[in-house]
């Protein structure tokens, strides 16, 4: 019974991802006729304009959207497991913003000193920022148990980091600042193959490690006492969760800037679709769901007000925030603490 549901769910998600990828390839300021898609894809160099547009711009961009969307959703799922609360996510807890601040500072410093910033260094900087925010949130969570207070703290951290980033961006006088500004609002635009090559191993390894964590995550859902009683090494497990979720959201921020609400909305939608919270089922599904969600949102960001691009975060907020509000209201109704 449930096996059939899982199979159907996975089939649906895969179809969705593939369909959205196809639409993303076809639609844009230069529409590509469906008939030219396959020939252009098969001949990257000799396929004329269509091939150039596909291979230089749309393909790397959609791969980035899919990978980073999946990473973001996964990061949210891990944080929800850690806090045992469906309203935790890298954006509302200020982790994305922390990463954003350190990435912006690193970028500006490197520009000033004329150094070339490698993708790895970018991810490392974002990871450091994510861990800083996470550390602060953990400090607060040791004192307050209410998730709502924690989220308010996270949002405040987010504002402080964003303000600091804005200052830094405003006072940095470089020609690259336009790019930096776009990035600091969240965008997949201008993603090249170098970035895709850098993010792919990080994200896919992150997915693999998350799958390997699914067993203790399942036990942890019943609370730490029961998890410890069946043999989960709590301290190690928590450290792994924190590092992995921070790394995933840091990777997203490093390449696409902060993207809001995906981390909460997608895991919730996926769990509702599969009617289970079993990590082994939900982790890969949340990854696929995040990929589909970000492909969809990037499509809208690119095309809704073309030729002007909207920041991806604005689009994800429009679709993601209602889900978060619904979750908050539902928990309120069920009488649980925030």
């Amino acid at each position: 019974m449930e096996k059939r549901r899982y199979a159907a769910g996975y089939a649906l998600l895969c179809l969705l991802v593939l369909a959205l990828m196809a639409v993303n390839l076809l639609v844009g300021s230069v529409p590509i006729p469906a008939g030219e898609l396959l020939p252009a894809l098969l001949r990257p160099s000799g396929g004329g304009d269509a091939a150039a547009i596909l291979w230089r711009m749309r393909l790397p961009r959609l791969l980035a959207a899919a990978l980073l969307g999946g990473a973001l959703s996964l990061s949210g799922l891990l944080l929800q497991s850690f806090f045992n609360n469906p309203i935790a996510g890298p954006f509302v807890l200020g982790i994305s913003s922390g990463a954003k601040l350190t990435v912006a500072l690193t970028m500006i410093l490197c520009l000033r000193w004329g150094m070339n910033l490698s993708s790895t260094a970018l991810i490392a900087a974002a990871f450091a920022g994510a861990l800083l925010s996470m550390g602060f949130i953990l400090l607060v969570s040791g004192r307050v148990r209410r998730m709502s207070v924690l989220i308010i703290c996270g949002v405040m951290i987010g504002y402080i980091c964003s303000a600091a980033t804005d200052f830094a961006v405003t006072f940095a006088d470089e020609s690259n600042i336009v790019n930096l500004h776009d990035w600091s609002l969240g965008s997949f635009s201008g993603t090249g193959w170098a970035s895709v090559r850098a993010m792919t191993p990080v994200v896919l390894l992150g997915l693999l490690f998350a799958v390997l964590l699914s067993k203790p995550m399942g036990a942890y859902a019943l609370g730490e006492s029961y998890a410890a009683s069946v043999g989960v090494n709590l301290r190690l497990f928590r450290v792994k969760l924190i590092l992995l979720s921070s790394l995933l959201s840091a990777c997203v921020t490093a390449f696409a800037g902060p993207i809001s609400f995906v981390g909460i909305a997608v895991p919730h939608l996926v769990k509702s679709l599969f009617r289970t919270s079993r990590p082994l089922v939900v982790i890969p599904a949340a990854f696929l769901g995040g990929a589909a969600f970000c492909l969809f949102c990037d499509l809208i960001a690119r095309t809704a007000f073309a030729p002007t691009e909207v920041s991806i975060s604005s689009v994800t907020a429009v679709f993601g925030a209602p889900v978060v509000i619904y979750l908050l209201l539902r928990r309120q109704r069920e009488g649980r603490n925030g």
């Binding site: 469906p86 799958v211 390997l212 699914s214 067993k215 399942g218 036990a219 859902a221 019943l222 609370g223 006492s225 029961y226 410890a228 009683s229 069946v230 043999g231 989960v232 090494n233 769990k271 009617r275 289970t276 919270s277 079993r278 082994l280 649980r336």
Partner: protein
């Protein structure tokens, strides 16, 4: 008898402050041991330490002769499972999923259930009687059902020692009985050792092979229930007035009404109990008599009446007791008779009833 669990001079507590010190105890397979004692005496702390949720301050707990706190987590998880007062509320988990969480120590890297694991889950649900709940959402079943599902989870972990912290709290009588009878089955048929804390002394007396009283910062007394749960001892441990603990019924009695009695209750055979209780509720002080020492209502009368006139067990009411009762009756303005049948043993009470009628103080019950 071989011992499964042994505590040797175990001290437990928080931040180097001992709550229970120097606890020593032995528990054999198939035995049920209940910890009783006042709130805050440290029963939970003791259980948490044995279940490895807390580190011992000094001393140690041994499982099969091996120190528990030194065992690898994976090994102790296969030997010991727990049921805590904290009720988890995981999202989107069916009762079956919650039960299956107990298979954690036996499954592989990804926690996928094998055929055998599935069988164990079914067996545990059947044994506890929650098979019908299997497909329901765990957060949507009642408190009592949730507790039974958590018990099934603990059972499917296949422990040799089951540690339960106040498993019956907040349950209705049906679920209390269901839970305790499962524990009895587990102990008798599967040879599990059960260690739990209980607040219901009556249930502790019925289900336990051994009762240990945690009080005054130590395990104050251990033994069979009838040895530990004596009236005087319970009164001392819980700091309640004499007579407040009804040993025969295994239940507490409320405080007796204060004041000079103006009412005499002729009792015996059990019919007086509701009358005594009603008078207690209304705050009316009363005398009771003449009751045989072994009468079913004697403990209640002793707890609630200002004075009870007693006759020796299995002996007719004597002239001496009758005279005492008559004197008390004469001092009263009202009398009640709860006795409907008279014979040679309570002939005295018939004469008492006649006296009450003659004085015109008798009221209908």
């Amino acid at each position: 008898m071989d011992k499964l669990l042994e505590l040797k001079a175990l001290s437990v507590g928080y931040r180097r402050r001992a709550v229970v010190g120097d606890a020593s105890l032995e528990l054999a397979p198939g035995q049920i041991l209940s910890l009783i004692g006042p709130n805050g005496a440290g029963k939970s702390t003791l259980l948490k330490t044995i279940a490895r949720q807390l580190s011992p301050l000094s001393g140690a707990a041994y499982l099969d002769g091996r120190e528990l706190s030194q065992m690898p987590e994976k090994e102790s998880a296969r030997a010991l499972s727990i049921l805590l007062t904290h009720r988890p509320s995981p999202e989107l988990m069916r009762c079956r999923d919650v039960v299956a969480a107990g298979r954690y120590p036996y499954t592989g890297r990804l926690g996928i259930l094998s055929r055998e694991d599935e069988r164990e889950v079914e067996r545990a649900m059947e044994l506890v009687g929650v098979t019908s709940l299997a497909e329901q959402d765990f957060t949507r079943v009642s408190d009592g059902e949730r507790q039974l599902v958590m018990l099934a989870r603990a059972v499917c972990q296949r422990p040799r020692l089951l540690v339960l912290d106040e498993p019956t709290s907040f349950l209705d009588i049906r679920h209390k009985l269901a839970l305790l009878s499962v524990l009895k089955t587990l102990a008798q048929e599967e040879g599990l050792a059960v260690l739990m804390s209980l607040h219901e002394l009556d249930l502790a007396a019925k289900v336990s092979d051994l009762v240990a009283c945690v009080s005054f910062g130590r395990i104050d007394r251990v033994g069979p229930p009838e040895a530990v749960l004596s009236g005087e001892y319970i009164q001392k441990v819980y700091g309640v007035q004499a007579g407040a603990w009804n040993e025969a019924f295994g239940s507490p009695e409320l405080e007796r009404p204060k004041g000079e009695p103006r009412l005499f209750v002729i009792g015996g055979g059990g019919g007086g109990i509701p009358v005594y209780r009603r008078l207690q509720r209304q705050g009316v002080p009363f005398y009771a008599g003449v009751l045989h020492e072994n009468d079913v209502e004697t403990p209640v009368a002793r707890a609630l009446a200002a004075r009870v006139v007693l006759a020796r067990a299995f002996a007719p009411i004597g002239e001496e007791e009758l005279a005492e009762a008559e004197a008390l009756l004469k001092a009263c303005e009202r009398a009640l008779c709860c006795v409907t049948a008279f014979g040679p043993m309570n002939e005295g009470n018939r004469r008492l009833l006649a006296l009450a009628e003659e004085r015109g103080v008798l009221e209908r019950v």
